[in-house]
Symmetry: C2
Subunit: 461 residues, 2 copies
């Protein structure tokens, strides 16, 4: 045994210094099992510390089982404590080198500068003060009731959708809703039918638990419903009918009807991801597929695009038959959302500040879209075609005669150009090699021209 | 075709009334495929609305594919749109009858009345204003860096733990951490070793994806490490070594060393759930198992008990080898936490308001624990024994010679007494039938006496 060395200048209390140094000696075997410790009086004297300090250190070691003592007997080191080479915490990561970004065409990024942060802060503070104490406790997996009511009202005034608030389940965003739905609809390796191309991240979200992904090819009008016949048995069908990601098509009514008929025949559920259809620049928002069959279609919405991604609020509208299992899964996964963002968002919806924000952003994004198309014309003449409906925060552009391969992607990375080839989002490869997906929502107008020029330089390199 | 009937007093815009009524007629077959619509001029005249209103309604129906029109030809109903009996949204749920709660011994409930909600509101508002716009976007799955730093500092000053902030991963609470860890450590039906008894919800959290649960019996000193030898191959070991739930034992150092040796031999990881050890009423907090082997033990912490459950912030400390896969899983499950609570909590930790809150609550909860034990003595004399260490927000009480069966639980439900038999938390049944788990953290002192009397009345009934 080595006497503990006391550092009186250290932040660590002296009792913990004694405790730690004995513990290290015991774990390393330097103080073997059965070795007697000095009495508390004796050690206090030798270290010139108060006896109560030593008593506290011994009590910690006793209560954690490093020492044992019997009535009237000496305090000794307990049995079975030596561990070979106890491992250490990891070293800090080396700092990463970052390439400066010269052109950022990331998709799904709203303009964060325009979000009214001061208003949001007030709404959060009001929520914290206004929510009763019980809302700080466990309130169940379905979400804050006033927010569910306000979402129902918003869906009615923005899309003419008739929904019961009892069927709305708040989530931590659309990804979270899809993660739960995949487990709910295909618990053990079922088959999931997806659009191809679709967002590249979705494959990872939906393919967990050994699920098989069945791609159905997409054209300018969304999923090709005439290909459904060959799909075999499926449990879940994922679609983006209002604004197909990434090609931008609107699923026509006849394909919608065919899809609903198919789902009914197979006993499958359709998951409708309405990720950005608030931002439609010509005409009213498209009516959701949900209205065709609320018992067969699960509508998933998110506020990541309309407000901001870090909000982490989305929702799913579920038929009654799925609600009990959803509650169980949500409770086991992550229990519930925090209440503050939910209450602040409910207030924003109720006062129509949300609607005003959407209107302002829609006209802003519409102008950016037009600026992007104008700059593409300036740089590329008429050698390109914009795919899909004029909506959302991105557009897929076919550059006639070009081919965006792995070498192009490497050049993008090296040169700080964030532009994703459509092929990245394809399950079946080789059909869309001439197309890039360009996000513009977050780009201030004056950055769009330079970004497009940067892109052309890279394409011509 | 039936002419749309216009309600000029309705909130729904007239263009949408026209659109909806045509859509319903098309879906039901009342307007069959190929039927020609009146011209926009003609319909506007018949309905006495402006022609542009009718044009907008037709445009919506055209863009969604309910109608089709060819250059110069009439607008007609599109093909393939009839759906049998479109289903309706669900009816509202009938209101549930609730039994008034007379005695609430729920576990894991901190006192929400004592939480400084006004301070919290200010911290949230400061966070909303102070966070730069990019923090409103996607910021990655690991969590807010200043919070991770503050958690490291807190673990050092409260438990003497040396941790690198790069190894801390923020979660939406401990349940969320355990859900991710189960998938990470046993992706396809591995075996999970658990304490028995343990929290009843954990079985559901950990047993997903066909995982097999292996119970290891618990005594007054936590998991019985001498039973590990018969456990076979396991991937994940779940323990609560600082304050076993629900029996309250502290795992002694010799069992800790045996557990670490076992995990090393089997290549398994130990998940240490430190859910409430801040509240220890005699002596310093117990040192985490993590310090014995940071490459083999994953430490999971939560702020649900120290602050409030709806906060939804917890964390896991991960060895480097698990971090890349964790990032992937978190991104596919729910992306990230919102930033506001994280920044507010970081501020609370940095200013030590958190430490002050813990100190105040510890002495408050300690008094409540004592009041509960006093009231038990008053009502039950010396016919009961408190299990485990004096810590946390609950205590398991053995009532000598009693038996808490299903009939008792029914009586509890019918009479508004929330008291959970220990058997509810047992995987192997029949060993703890004389024990109740009583939560006291949320109970004001004046409610404890009446609650204990209510319990005795029910037990004697």
């Amino acid at each position: 045994m080595q006497l503990p060395s006391i550092d009186r200048a250290a932040q660590e209390p002296i009792r913990r210094q004694i405790y730690t140094q004995f513990k290290v000696q015991i774990a390393s075997g330097a103080m073997p099992a059965g070795e007697a410790l000095p009495s508390t009086r004796q050690l206090a004297g030798e270290l010139s510390v108060s006896r109560s300090t030593v008593v506290e250190a011994y009590d910690m070691l006793l209560s954690e089982g490093y020492l044992s003592s019997r009535q009237g007997a000496q305090t000794v080191v307990a049995d079975g404590l030596v561990l070979d080479a106890p491992s250490l915490p990891s070293e800090p990561d080396p700092p990463r080198k970052r390439t400066p970004v010269l052109a950022d065409f990331s998709t799904g990024r709203p303009d964060l500068e325009q979000f009214p942060r001061a208003l949001w802060g007030r709404l959060l503070a009001n929520a914290a003060l206004g929510l009763p104490p019980e809302q700080y406790g466990y309130t169940g997996p379905q979400g804050y009731a006033p927010l569910r009511q306000e979402i129902v009202a918003w869906l009615s005034r923005s899309r003419g959708l008739a929904v019961n608030a009892a069927d709305v389940f708040i989530t931590a965003g659309a990804t979270h809703a899809l993660h739960i739905l995949a487990e709910l609809l295909c618990p053990a390796g079922g088959r999931v039918l997806m659009e191809d191309p679709c967002h590249s991240g979705l494959f990872d979200i939906l393919s967990g638990s050994n699920r098989e992904i069945v791609p159905i090819s997409v054209d300018d009008h969304g999923m090709q419903a005439d290909l459904l016949g060959s799909a075999g048995q499926v449990s879940m069908i994922y679609v983006t009918p209002s604004h197909q990601f990434p090609l931008g098509g609107i699923l026509p009514a006849s394909r919608r009807a065919a899809l609903v008929r198919f789902a009914r025949e197979r006993g499958a559920f359709i998951v409708e991801d309405d990720y950005d259809s608030e931002f439609r620049y010509e005409g009213a928002p498209v009516a959701p597929l949900y209205s065709m069959d609320p018992q067969r279609v699960i509508y998933v919405g998110t506020f990541s695009k309309t407000l901001f991604p870090a909000l982490r609020i989305g929702f799913a509208i579920l038929p009654k038959c799925l609600q009990a299992r959803w509650r169980e899964l949500r409770t086991h996964y992550d229990v519930q959302n925090p209440p503050f963002e939910q209450a602040a968002l409910a207030e924003m919806l109720q006062t129509r500040r949300f609607d005003r924000h959407i209107r302002a952003m829609r006209s802003r994004y519409g102008r950016r879209r037009q600026t992007l198309l104008d700059e593409l014309t300036r740089e590329f003449g008429n050698t390109w075609v914009a795919c899909g409906d004029a909506a959302g925060l991105h557009v897929a552009i076919r550059f006639l005669g070009r081919r965006f391969d792995d070498a192009f992607q490497s050049r993008c990375r090296e040169n700080g150009v964030l532009a994703v080839p459509l092929e990245t989002h394809c399950l079946v490869k080789g059909l869309h090699e001439d197309t890039l997906v360009l996000g513009y929502g977050h780009l201030e107008p004056e950055r769009i021209g330079p970004a497009v020029r940067q892109l052309r330089l890279l394409m011509d390199a």
